[in-house]
Symmetry: D2
Subunit: 428 residues, 4 copies
């Protein structure tokens, strides 16, 4: 059998190929003369499978798509407070090149506009690092997201510096407000090098998948950045990633995303997938015209919108029945599916409503495929309370998904690998 | 056993009780003299369980919390295009009472600022409805969200009208731009009545749960608004619901939310829960001070942030094994958990990599607890392709979660209720 | 001989007649259907001569040209502090219908934008006057400026009220900030009546001449408003009168001016002349297109720019000579021209440098045609000091232009009507 | 006798000496450590007399007071159109360091804000001049205004460059808009050197007097800049010179003015006087606190407000009488004072109303001390028309104030030096 995913990718790509609307970025020759017909898309799953269609191995400059990743690096390197002191998280409703500093503090409103991204660049790496070392750290960091060594396009970089008047203006303004504390020109040069890193559509999909995978690169398995940083970065992408079209994107597409002026566009769907597209012609907002169409199609076809209410699930409680009799009588609750707060609450309610009379209570998690912290804590508390009520409690957990083996001693219940074992145990 | 959810709610509520920061809204006596110590919180699950703590049955005016619900009604009544033509979806980064009209069109930037909400009020109900009928439709709609008949507080309403200068200014401005096309004073009066609807914390939790439950009221089971409207409303709440603190809220709390000047605050987590709190003292952004603290605590304790990457799940493919031999040989794949695009892709990959040699292939969905459209389509396509490859394909789907019984005739595979049936069938 | 002034007016008017650029105001039928070819200009001198050319007796609504005059009335009625507390004097650099309130205070930036003019209207007349009495006071005041009873165009007024959404928005906003303290609708109605007062080009020239003449109507001789109010009004006209074209007007034309949407335009040159033009087609700034051309021409042809440095004058000291000998010897200084501070300083210097040795000193002001307060005080001080130095001082002042007859007793010098009298007096 | 002008200056200075409100500029040590008690004022008359009080010979840096003078140089060097294409003339209502570029063009709103002044600096001298030559031209130009060679304070300059972040930001922004077309850093360095020119209060008074004197330095007699440039500069000072306090200054003081951050403040009253003050403590608007008080006092005491309506003058027609009889009969009109348009119009009217019957008409300008172009043209036209009416016309003009000697041949009248000559001539 052949997978239908490549077919799907090809078909959707074909569907937008005839759209030649928009214009390449014009402000430097290297972008203005890019092949406008290049077109590609790639999906990278959180377990490392990559699907591509079109020119997925053509290199282009990452440009503003570097912003969320370097924001992640800065948060990881300096901590939330240090970064938040310098760069806000509020949507500005403005174009990418607006200065948009907060009155008073002079803090850029968010890390996705240039003022914020330049400031964020200055916060990558250790404090008081040299400009070169900082760029090296940024390129290393981006490479870790992509799982291959990336490089700066020196020609692009030189050309960008010749047209960096506005970014220099922004940097000097930030310097005047002490948001930047080093030489503004050196920081802008570093930022331009960051933006001139060469990537392929495949690279970008892997980078996005790393965000979708809680910071763990699905190819290398490395934790590139901590999970809490990922949450922050995805949130800021969701609210500020598409500049003055942020609201339209959030409602229509609903995938945390970021575009670059060279034509790249990425989206990361938490827990599921990283997506990247590449097409150099830009729409009036400065986003890749065909890239936006592709994402609209993906979101719509695949239900990828983050505010999509998930399909109603079968009950997390698969069975609730009394088995045996007398001293051997036991109440068995079989759970299934993924359990987060809402599921755990349902289970708690089931137990409360049941008021088990049997001496033994078995909580069977064999069919549970995932569980989060709050659910785990709640269910362990259920076991504890049942035990306090005088029951012998068995937690069937063959893969150790619920019970922490290290702290098993403290539990007032018995963890077993198979429900059969509960039947053969003597009551305590 | 006693549920720990009420304990949790009580404990968290107790934790913020001593915080007396902030001030009641001062602009009308009715709000300025509210009991500042009132404090409550309620959770409503998507299957209709309600937990409350504190003063959950005290009535207060809904105020701006009406905005997302009436936006939902207007979208349902007039359609997306008609509403979008009048009110944008872009975060404004501004306080609630900023006029914030888009240059040129004069369209309010989003439905959560007053200019947008006044316009949205004018779009509830049928076109050319009388002002009274429109208010009646709004109150009926809010009541459907709450699952009880709600009423307007006439005194509050009168007092608000006396201080409605700014809203009247906004309405006249909108009228001058032909965004409003009726008498601005009548529309503001209707809007003030909308804001003066009395609700309890319990009501608000049910209303929020209706949003979390794809528009179906978890108590009545009624589809109050269509699911696509819910997605739109939740998105706009996420980006614009907390005014100029939208970015801080999105990063810190990450629950689509809306606050009201009387002290109410709601949040809706898609697929899980509706939350409401009430405490009249407001912080500098105009949001309930203790309400914000409660939500921060809930989000943090319970992992409710929408950008929280879900815990890594057990593989969606529970088993992949050959059984039997010869003509009876069959390849069995057991799936489990909830399946969306990423899970379906994993299954596809499993099948592709396996290259089954057995004449029979069994796809067992017994342990699958939920599946969405795209995953269903992909898996039916897997069955179809295996069949085209010459396999006898059996889909084990006891509850009809995958296969649409109505179109079964077209399938090139056999749907069965139990895997045992595959073994006893003759090959075709 | 025939005066060349009418010839000049006719010629200049003829020069712009073929210019049909611009559009009539479109927002109400009464203005949109005005005869677009109407064209007129009038000059009124500060001694009451009026020159007109074209349709100088056609009536049209005064519109925004009422703003400086009602500002004058409010300043006269309530005093500077009361008005300044409500309306600023800063140029806004914005169009006439921008709200442009000062952050914090909510005070309109200046009285020439609508927000300021509406507030100013509310400050005309006595405090707590009825809306009708206030309008009556305004119409009476405008009539005093024009020296004939003016009337409101009721049809225009009704039509304007139908399209007053923006002004109502502004008024409600001002009410919300407590800048207005009465019913906003009533104030806007009064303001619309103010704007609907019918005037002719001739009327406007007389009204402007009253400002040019220090508040004294040149026809009636009545002091319509005090001189200090005139200074304030002229200054605000100079900096804010032409909206967002204020700077271009100030540099190109340099005459304090005000335009109205019906096509009127006035300018007042302190001490010289009031000018009015009328032509209904408006340019992009909302100013009468041909009116602006006419003023540019007048300013250029006649050197009417307020920052025009006056031609270098002959010395204010016409003669400084010793006459006679012995005890009869006298030092005679003949002054001429108009004397303000700079001239007085020059005279002081002449006296100081001369170090008169003669027993008698004659200061002859016969040829002086004007003198202001500071110059008068300085020259009286010269006389006093010469007297203290031991001279017999004679001030020749046939028309009492220098010496205040009432306080003559205090002077240590002799005021005479003709220099001959000095020669015949005995030394004291 | 001793002049009272120095007494006055001393007294006013003494009156503000105890005011220690405000703070020295803090952004560079050289300004932050200036002696805050320094205080001085100087008057320079348009004929070159200088009065000073206090520390009039202490040098300090000119700072923003250079702006109007370099604007004058740029207008003189490049012409109005070239400068206007790059820098507007609209008041911005903003603080000095606001960027305040016009949307679209990116043109700074006016030459008094830093963005405008930096652009203006780049327009001084010839096109494509080196940065050093441009600074040399600026220093030479400022020296011509001051009538002594001025020098740059190198230490101040170096210190300013270290804190020029905001100006560099502005310059890069202007470069990005192609308003600047050279290296922004070099232009800012030049601008900083311009601002670091050392001047005394005496110098500034002379510089201001040069503006008051139509561009002619009253000490050297050199025409430093053409008169039309002066008018432009004075207008822009009047509307934009005092930043966000422009309106208050225009109404309260009414003298075209400019302040500098080192504590200097100048005002120029056309045709009368240049004034300068120095006191380093600045008010909240960044203007010298005591300097503002001094100017308020001067304006009030001396009637220096440009919108002050001049005192009503004696009639410009001093006498209008018939003399002699028969063929010798002549009509004599004696004029007096300064004649601009309004005076000329009055004379025209006198002649028209008189309808002279005498064969000879004598227009006696002996007592006229000044006349401007338009008045001269009108009065020559009076003479021409009288001649056409058949009169023998004599213009008594001993100093050639009215009649242009060069074109005398064309006149149809006779110019004489004394009225007596008219009597002795034979009729033509």
């Amino acid at each position: 059998m052949k997978s239908m995913v490549p077919d799907y990718l090809d078909a959707v790509l074909q569907g937008v190929r005839s759209d030649t609307s928009g214009e390449r970025a014009q402000y430097i020759p290297e972008l203005a003369t890019a092949d406008p017909d290049l077109l590609s898309a790639a999906f990278a799953t959180v377990d490392g499978e990559i699907y591509g269609s079109g020119d997925v191995d053509v290199e282009f400059t990452i440009q503003s798509i570097s912003k969320p990743f370097v924001y992640a690096l800065a948060l990881a390197d300096r901590g939330f407070d240090a970064v938040h002191a310098k760069v806000g998280v509020e949507p500005s409703g403005e174009a990418f090149n607006e200065i948009s500093l907060e009155p008073g503090s002079g803090r850029p409103r968010n890390p996705m506009i240039n003022a914020g991204a330049i400031t964020v660049h200055s916060l990558a790496g250790r404090d008081r690092e040299s400009a070169d070392d900082r760029v090296a750290r940024v390129v290393r960091g981006l490479s870790a997201f992509a799982n291959r060594p990336l490089h700066v396009d020196a020609d692009m970089c030189a050309s960008e510096m010749e047209h960096a008047h506005r970014n220099l203006a922004i940097a000097h303004m930030l310097r005047s407000q002490d948001v930047l504390v080093e030489d503004p020109t050196a920081i802008v040069e570093g930022y331009v090098r960051q933006c001139s890193v060469l990537v392929t559509t495949r690279d970008l999909a892997v980078m996005a998948a790393t965000l979708a995978n809680a910071g763990v690169n699905p190819l290398s398995g490395d934790q590139v950045i901590p999970a809490p940083v990922v949450r922050q970065v995805l949130t800021v992408m969701a609210t500020c990633g598409m500049y003055d079209a942020a609201g339209d994107w959030a409602t229509q597409v609903g995938i945390p995303a970021k575009s670059g002026v060279a034509g790249g566009l990425i989206g990361a769907l938490p827990g599921q997938i990283g997506i990247a597209t590449f097409s150099p012609r830009l729409d009036a907002h400065g986003n890749s015209a065909r890239g936006v169409s592709l994402f609209e199609r993906y979101s719509n076809d695949m239900g990828l919108h983050v505010m999509e209410v998930p399909p109603t699930a079968r009950s997390v409680v698969r069975a609730n029945e009394a088995r045996g009799s007398g001293a051997e009588a036991m109440r068995v609750l079989e759970m299934q599916g993924g359990i987060r707060f809402a599921g755990a609450e349902r289970i708690v309610r089931e137990v409360v409503d049941t008021v088990p009379q049997e001496p033994r209570v078995v909580l069977d998690f064999t069919a549970v495929h995932s569980i989060d912290d709050v659910a785990r804590r709640m269910l362990l508390e259920v076991a504890r309370r049942l035990s306090l009520d005088g029951h012998d409690v068995y937690v069937v957990d063959p893969d150790g998904i619920v019970a922490d083996p290290d702290s098993r001693a403290d539990h007032r219940f018995t963890v077993i690998g198979h429900i059969g074992r509960a039947a053969h145990r003597r009551s305590t």
